[in-house]
Symmetry: C2
């Protein structure tokens, strides 16, 4: 937790918050904080700044806060991701949030196991929890938008072309394709497949929607690693 | 497991192996393999190729194998990493191995908790297990060398200058430093700090040894994410 992220319900005055639960525990156990300590704080969806730990008890902490700084810029990116397996999904949500992706679309694919759609980690509250952890890690206050698209074909045929229009459309896909471009200056729509990759039909449909295959070399990376590697290379 | 990695002990003839245990279980449960299936195989430290599943039983599998392909090239890199916390260590070892890092040095730092050095995940067998998982993921056969340096100062003063000589020496460090270079053509020695970063004294000592600070932007990334992002950008 490199940023103490505050929500409206935490505020008891415009410049004062009271914390309990997970964040209080973290202050005690990880930060080993003491009264008087200074902390980096951010208001969810708003500015960042600094806080002073006025009172630190076993049951709650009181912090005076002051906001004066905008959060870091997001990447100019829409990320389409074939729904990963539940354990990977949690980590990917944190990574996506930490790296500054503003919009994530979780998409079905032939190689996404049906059972993955049943996971409780897809509940809005569970998704939000992982996104918050990513923001706390990287010091950001703005939650990414997460969209769930359970049907590949209608999404890719009917909605993706408009969504990708005007952006550089890319599909991360191993094979005999151009290397993923570096340091692009424009907005990007990037699709990353499931374990085992998109099937040829899906690559074709994504191409028809304006996304062109690019590769990262012959090594097969885990989804989380591929997401990080592609974003680090693109931006 | 995108590559079935074979060790000397698996061979019952030059072109035939017998498997039990984890890899057999994986063939049954994840690959849902059947007799006659073709598999990608690699010989630890040697070539890659293909295998045919001749016999698949509950207790063991017999596979005929044929090797004809070199493993992918490693990155021209020595990676110095402040020892991460045990849970992160396991994932980082897999990532490093999957991404093709040939040499990893796990180093002490002021912000590495002493208890991290006690973890059983640092036992050579446990390290090897994670490295193997990384090779199986990315399809490689050559284990990275992992060196453990429990004392920062003697290592950085006495051994690092020779080790980094002739390479581009870099320290990943947040702050007002040049951006990490992209697509370098030469060998690199890269040091990545612990959670919370190197302390100024350590950055100074690393600079004296020929490593210059570079940054990746204002977001603070987890160690595993930072490793992947820096390597994807550099190579």
């Amino acid at each position: 937790m490199n940023l103490l992220l505050l929500e409206d319900a935490d505020f008891v005055a415009a410049d004062r918050v009271v914390l309990q639960g997970r964040r209080l525990k973290h202050l005690h156990e990880v930060h080993r904080a003491e009264a008087g300590d200074s902390l980096r704080v951010g208001r969810l969806g708003g500015l960042m700044g600094s806080g002073t730990l006025e009172v630190l008890g076993a049951e709650q902490a009181e912090i005076s806060v002051h906001f004066d700084q905008p959060p870091p810029a997001k990447l100019p990116l829409t990320l389409l991701l074939a729904l990963p397996r539940p354990k990977m999904l949690r980590r990917v949500l944190q990574t996506v949030s930490a790296m500054g992706v503003p919009r994530l679309i979780l998409l079905n694919s032939y190689r996404v196991e049906k059972s993955f759609w049943q996971t409780p980690f897809l509940d809005p509250g569970a998704v939000r929890e992982q996104l918050i952890l990513g923001l706390e890690q990287s010091r950001d206050t703005v939650l990414p938008e997460v969209v769930i698209e359970k049907r590949f074909k209608p999404f890719v045929e009917d909605r993706l072309p408009a969504l990708a229009a005007g952006s550089l459309g890319l599909v991360g896909h191993p094979g005999d394709f151009p290397a993923c471009p570096r340091a692009v200056e424009q907005a990007v729509t990037l699709a990353i497949g499931p374990e085992g990759g998109w099937i040829p039909y899906e690559v074709e449909k994504l191409q028809e929607a304006g996304l062109n295959p690019v590769q990262l070399g012959e090594r097969i990376l885990r989804v989380e690693t591929a997401v990080t590697a592609l974003l680090a290379r693109l931006f």
